[in-house]
Symmetry: C2
Subunit: 400 residues, 2 copies
Amino acid sequence: MRLFLQVVPVSEAVRVVRSIAPPVPKESVPLEDALHRILAADVRADVDIPGFDRSTVDGYAVAAADTVGAGEAIPAMLHYRGRVAMGGRDPGSVAPGSCMYVPTGGVLPKGADAVAMIEYCEQLGDDVLVHRPVAPGENVVFADEDFAAGEVVLESGRALSPRDIGVAAAAGAGEVSVMRIPRVGIISTGNELVPIVAAPRPGEVRDVNSYLCGTYLMERGCHPVYYGIVRDDRENLAATLSAALDQCDLVLISGGSSKDERDNTAAVITSLGEVLVHGVAIAPGKPTILGQAAGKPVIGLPGHPASTYVVLVAIVDHLLAAMMQTEVSRRTVSAVLAENVPSAKGREDYVRVMVKEGRATPVFGKSGLLNTLTRSTGLVRVPAGSEGLEVGEAVEVIVW
Amino acid sequence: MRLFLQVVPVSEAVRVVRSIAPPVPKESVPLEDALHRILAADVRADVDIPGFDRSTVDGYAVAAADTVGAGEAIPAMLHYRGRVAMGGRDPGSVAPGSCMYVPTGGVLPKGADAVAMIEYCEQLGDDVLVHRPVAPGENVVFADEDFAAGEVVLESGRALSPRDIGVAAAAGAGEVSVMRIPRVGIISTGNELVPIVAAPRPGEVRDVNSYLCGTYLMERGCHPVYYGIVRDDRENLAATLSAALDQCDLVLISGGSSKDERDNTAAVITSLGEVLVHGVAIAPGKPTILGQAAGKPVIGLPGHPASTYVVLVAIVDHLLAAMMQTEVSRRTVSAVLAENVPSAKGREDYVRVMVKEGRATPVFGKSGLLNTLTRSTGLVRVPAGSEGLEVGEAVEVIVW
């Protein structure tokens, strides 16, 4: 007896969600608000950076040739011609046999091609003794050495890190074009569900999935819109899904852990659009539904939070990345399996593991336990073609 | 000639910032707003979770003993006594030799101690044929098996992940106690600085550090307060620092890349409080100043963004963690050095590296280049006691 006649491989599920992902529009935001946003257009340097030959140390700007052979015993003696002022436009110039003091970040005077660090120099009245030779270019960044005007400094599709924001600032990008934040509707369905602040009676469970999915979406750069708990009733579920489709770019129907509820979710998606996949060869997470309505993806997630989270990571991550026209960004860590992991061939298993000192130990206890989510480091994927992984095998752990 | 007479080791700098870190107060926030916040009190389960013996599959609730020896050819035949309703309070009961249908998440009826998956059962009128034996407890989570009432499910000091939020939801925590978000003032100083939207003239550079520091702080769970660019003028700097100390928990004075500016920063901190450290044995990042005023830490960061970022990671991370009473959380990846990394003994070097296929290659080009921040994977720390690291050596890369 099979419940899922057309169970599809994970790779096919990923292909389907990518094919129905509606790209979100672009928008322009101030640079200081762009952290972790997905860049929607290349950022180019508008000018050469740093824009002038710049000292990277406090020291004396010199012609490197004047310091050849200088040493502790026989220093090069150069005529002191004054200081370069910070932020000043005209740094002055250095003739052969002379030097100028230049602070870190200061403009290299004309005629100089290197800076001798102050630690190796000694000023005696109008003369400066240089105790070490410097090579041409030493302690200097040249005008376009960091980025040249017009050069792409950050590529479209990149999730902006603080370091990227710093580079964009140097490139003069007061605003950047980024993908609009996707709005994702979250519906929890199931007669057994109660709000988390309620004391559950026997048979009732708290609506964990709204919180789990909502904060997962926030972490992935989306804006969750909560539609609360819908009883196991097609009319109500259809009305809520319609409202969510109006207001959101994507809808997750979380819950439906019983067969009846899953049937309702599928039926309601069908009434408003179409079900494309009903059942994925993934464990946990088999009762996943992929559909669309009103031109927007509607994903039915399994009822148990631990299963839901695996489906979010293994499938929904790809949908979100496609909507934001970026790549799925995964943190992984290499480890060696500390135990055998059995698996059924034809099914992609995601095994929760705890990684310690390079060893990945499958988390003990039943996979239906919530505590496996907080007591594990991440997931090991057992490919569909495999009948399991053996102790000692090298694995890449997808870190939570 | 030495500029930094009392340069201290990085370990001492970390000890100092930890000792002056003012703990931020606690506050209570709705669970859905608590992502990535630092938990300020343990979260305990208020009830047993799941609270009842619960089926983890769709199937037939049975007494496991009734299925001993069942197989494809000789199934166990059990009397069908109806269905368990989702969310219903009374699941009914199973006498020896009988069974009930139970959906995933449903309550196990009295008398049952296991669930036979529907895939291995066949319903024939009032009878159900079970083709595989089940062990006691199979496909069942018992009432307090996930968490027992009163058990700590999340410990104080933890940065809340989506999975943690899910567990807190299951534990009935509609609100959680978290550390208040630290407010961090950011001042940029230097006569050479111009706003990022200005076209810099020779000698001028854009104020990259405000953006780099601000978004770094956001990523670390802080709220940046920007005080803009202050000219190289002690009176102005003191007035701005005073205002920032009034409004913030911590102030970063970013910039001061020239000796004069650094002197100003130190002088202004001294005028309002005290300088504790002036110069750290770290490269890049030597001209770091650690001080306090009005009972709050004031950190002087080097002028160059690449140096600033290293100091943020190596020192300021510890200050923020101490303020939020948590641990510094680092992502690291193990790699093997692809080249020798020379270093001066007595100085802790942080070398930017690009990691590819397990090999860490020091980033080419001068360390004063901004592009090294976006072209690298992270930092390799060369301990102060070492004269460098050798090609082939195993290193832990602190991932950006």
